[in-house]
């Protein structure tokens, strides 16, 4: 169907290179994907060091300035007006932007998704030459003649693998201070503090008479061990210093230094000539130096999250975490580490969101604001297994209040939850299609009503109750009063103890998901719908394992382990006769998590559906191998919980 709007966009693009090189059908396919964006004067399209957006840009009307900050002032490096293309370098190189882009007047800009263009670059040499020329001449692609492009061609290769996200960046980046403030033992704390003030530093190294380091005093030590203790500042430095100090050699390599600090929870590390505390000091490395050298490490992201209450900033940081994640996955970093880091970041975002929400709504709710509550994550996030920003599942529990206050308190918490959910959505998470979220009145309840809810699921385990149990039993306290969540956990165990038959129903439910392989050992794929001929890795491979781990651990009455592969580790410990099976199941689960997340990156989705044909032979085999423990474990469950004797 001819489309007036697409044609309008196409007719504009056609007038400017590189679009002018495209054939009619190609141009049409590009025009179809365009996003028309409007920026008011003074709006920024992107900032230096931002991660590349999905689009590069061509100015439709108005003008955009590409600027750089030099000594605090922004200097315009390029003026882009109608037909100028910019923002390409960052996209093709998958690197952060190197300039700021700001609308110099109200401007209409067409955003062209790079994914569409990558294909065209491969097919159309003239276009790739055009971009290569832009690469060669520097930062911005502007309208240019093709003549200068020849030499640049070899520069244009596949997007660089170097995404600047190494866990440990090169040593050369590490700047530590070589001017170390020291004092000898025997001088007073007061004098030491004076020296620190003069040099404007937060720490001082205490040395013995031969200038070898023996201890350190920081701002914090003065606060905690002197002022707070009510001591006199005439006392000698050695009486409040932290000792011994950790010393290392400068050329130990960044990762060694970093790990030493992390392992020993150190804020400062002293560099000495030979690495021991029996040699002269050559420098001091603080955790702050490390932060500066680590543009993109988890600690930087976490630190930055702790220092912002700006939702847009939080969203950007979560995007950064996603890139970190893809780096980890591709480099086979251990899954429990990866899952831990990402959960930590997700949890922190929720905590900050709650803080923002409370700051906004508390002033208007003086009577409700001090009610104890606990924000719970459910499902995969509750199990610390949510790597990609898939659906949110969460709930809220608050302490019991007198009946006449209940309505007010509940509406206050619904208000908070709504704010929190909106912030999470703005940070790129997706809403739960079944509405299992804390802003749903059904899932924002006082403790007693939650207990009643869990009891009713346990006492009458119908299909819906069991479905809810699988999601809600994996709750994990994120923020607020954790004892509320614990009270709930204990209630569940008590109830199950009273009604043991529940576990048998729960077991039957755990076996409901269909086996992943058909009779001929081929993948069972979806027969109909959007995902036809694809393999549902979540439903057919991951859920059976997660369900089994939850059930078995529940039957052992173990509290506090939520993560599926850690549950299997615990089970291996509890049931030595099945040790190897459970360890294998845990491993399988890790592999499945990794595959799903990688698929999610590839398809820009949840990664749930995988086309078996798109997997390499090795990967296909790997995936099939993960199924072996599922079968074994299901057999054990069938026998142990006498599932076949249950009436359905």
């Amino acid at each position: 169907m001819a489309n007036v709007i697409v044609n309008r966009v196409k007719e504009f693009l056609r007038r400017f290179p590189p679009f002018s090189f495209l054939s009619e059908p190609l141009l049409l396919s590009v025009a179809r994907e365009v996003e028309v964006q409007f920026y008011a004067k003074g709006d920024f399209l992107f900032h230096k060091d931002d991660l590349p957006r999905k689009h590069f840009f061509i100015v439709k009307e108005g003008s955009i300035h590409l600027t750089e900050k030099r000594e605090g002032k922004s200097v315009v490096l390029e003026f882009c007006d109608e037909g100028d293309v910019f923002g390409v370098l960052a996209l093709l190189g998958k690197r952060p932007y190197i300039l700021d882009a700001c609308a110099a007047e109200d401007s209409l800009v067409y955003g062209i998704p790079v994914s569409v263009f990558e294909k065209i670059l491969e097919e159309n040499q003239r276009v790739s030459l055009y971009f290569a020329a832009g690469f060669a001449s520097g930062q911005v692609v502007v309208r240019t003649d093709l003549s200068q492009s020849q030499k640049a061609r070899k520069l244009f290769s596949l997007p660089s693998q170097d995404n600047g996200l190494l866990i440990f960046t090169g040593q050369s980046d590490l700047n530590y201070s070589k001017n170390v403030l020291t004092c000898e033992v025997g001088i007073s704390v007061g004098e030491a503090a004076k020296m620190m003030k003069e040099k404007d530093v937060s720490s001082i190294i205490i040395t013995d008479t031969s200038k070898f380091p023996i201890g350190i005093i920081t701002d914090k030590d003065i606060r905690n061990r002197l002022v707070a203790e009510g001591k006199n500042f005439d006392i000698p430095v050695e009486s409040i210093m932290t000792q011994p100090v950790m010393t290392m050699q400068e050329n130990s390599g960044f990762s060694t230094l970093y790990l030493a600090m992390i392992k020993n929870r150190l804020h400062h590390l002293i560099i000495t000539a030979d690495g021991t505390d029996k040699s002269p000091i050559t420098g001091i490395l603080s955790d702050h130096d490390i932060l500066l050298s680590q543009g993109n490490s988890p600690s930087v992201i976490i630190h930055a999250l702790l220092n912002t209450l700006d939702v847009k900033e939080m969203a950007k940081l979560r995007d950064k975490a996603e890139i970190l994640l893809s780096y980890y996955l591709e480099n086979e970093v251990a899954m429990d580490f990866v899952a831990n880091i990402i959960s930590e970041i997700n949890d922190l975002i929720i905590k900050r969101a709650i803080l923002i929400a409370k700051e906004k709504h508390d002033p208007a709710h003086p009577a409700e604001k001090n009610t104890k509550f606990c924000f719970l994550s459910l499902g995969s996030e509750g199990r610390e297994e949510q790597l990609l920003r898939t659906d949110l599942d969460n709930a809220l529990v608050f302490e019991d209040v007198p009946t006449e206050r209940l309505a007010d308190v509940k509406s206050y918490f619904l208000l908070l939850a709504e704010e929190v959910i909106e912030i999470l959505l703005a940070c790129g998470f997706h809403p739960c299609p079944a509405d299992m979220m804390a802003n749903n009145p059904r899932w924002c309840l006082p403790l007693s009503e939650w207990k009643g809810q869990f009891s009713s699921w346990i006492l009458s385990p119908n299909q819906e109750a069991l479905m809810h149990a699988t999601i809600f039993f994996d709750f994990r306290a994120i923020a607020g009063q954790k004892d509320l969540a614990e009270a709930l956990s204990f209630h569940i165990y008590d109830q199950i103890n009273e009604k043991k038959i529940f576990l048998n129903f729960f077991a039957k439910n755990a076996l409901l998901n269909p086996p992943p392989l058909g009779f001929f050992r081929d993948f069972i794929v979806e027969k109909t719908g959007e995902h036809r001929d694809k393999f549902d890795i979540k439903l057919r491979a991951m859920m059976p394992l997660a369900d089994a781990a939850r059930l078995l651990l529940l039957s052992h009455r173990v509290v506090g382990i939520n993560n599926t592969f850690r549950r299997f580790e615990k089970l291996a410990e509890l049931e030595p006769q099945h040790e190897s099976l459970f360890l294998e199941a845990g491993k399988a689960y890790e592999i499945l998590m990794r595959m799903r997340a990688l698929e999610g990156f590839k398809s820009q989705g949840s990664g749930r559906y995988i086309a078996p044909g798109s997997l390499g032979k090795l990967q296909r085999q790997l995936l099939k191998n993960t199924f072996a423990p599922i079968d074994e474990i299901q057999k054990i469950i069938r026998v142990r919980f006498q599932v076949d004797y249950l009436l359905s």
């Binding site: 309008r8 994907e33 028309v36 964006q37 109200d106 909106e422």
Partner: protein, 224 residues
């Protein structure tokens, strides 16, 4: 009993796609949702005349807006067959007979699915809504449940303040043509439904930015 009696019937039995559409409104849009996270559908219809009771939709164009950006990929247009060929409409739109007309029932199903629970936007949108409601009546729809935003009212509110009486404006001061000219939007493809929808969408982007500068940042403030 010709096929065209369909048009005249009162609200028909509720079809599955109408029920699906209505289910989408179980959850309201939170008042605090920021404008950049709201979904808009900007639409325009061209009709055989100006009386919703007697006239018919000839063509329909729409495009989605989210995050201060128009998603060209989402552009939609339909040409419908009608029992009445309005001489006036033909003169204005120069659509005499479009060879790719679309069955009314499929049109209803597709459009309702496309609208979802987005905010419906248009210039003089009241008329388009009335036309759409009349068209969907036979399939069991009593009224469109989407929040409705009129770019005409929004422009007046932003330019003259919330209490301005539109009757005080000069004739045509707020016609799509003159507003677009005021906001420097080139008048391409005027008087085609998708063309006008695209113009209106560009106008919406500019008005939303203007609104933002006046402190209108969330759903509640926008729809007030």
């Amino acid at each position: 009993m010709g096929f065209w009696n369909l048009w005249r019937r009162e609200i028909g039995p509720k079809t599955a796609f109408v029920s699906d559409y209505e289910k989408g409104f179980k959850k309201r849009i939170p008042n605090i949702r920021a404008i950049e996270h709201l979904d808009f559908v900007v639409l325009d219809t061209e009709t055989t005349g100006l009386n919703p009771a007697e006239d018919f939709i000839v063509s329909f164009g729409a495009v989605k807006v989210r995050g201060y950006a128009i998603q060209v990929e989402s552009a939609l247009e339909y040409y419908l067959d009608t029992p009445k060929k309005g001489r006036e409409a033909i003169k204005v739109h120069e659509i005499l007979y479009h060879y790719e007309t679309y069955p009314i029932r499929d049109f209803g199903r597709d459009v309702l699915q496309y609208l979802g629970n987005s905010i419906v936007v248009g210039h003089h949108i009241g008329f388009d809504v009335a036309m759409l409601e009349k068209t969907f009546k036979p399939f069991g729809l009593s009224r469109l449940q989407n929040p409705i935003l009129d770019t005409l009212n929004l422009a007046v509110r932003l330019e003259k303040g919330p209490h301005y009486d539109i009757r005080g404006a000069k004739p045509n001061e707020y016609s799509l043509d003159s507003i677009c000219m005021r906001y420097q939007i080139p008048l391409d493809d005027r008087h085609t439904a998708p063309g006008d929808a695209f113009l209106t969408a560009q106008l919406l982007l500019k008005l939303l930015k203007l609104a933002e500068s006046k402190g209108i940042r969330d759903f509640e403030a926008l729809m007030r």
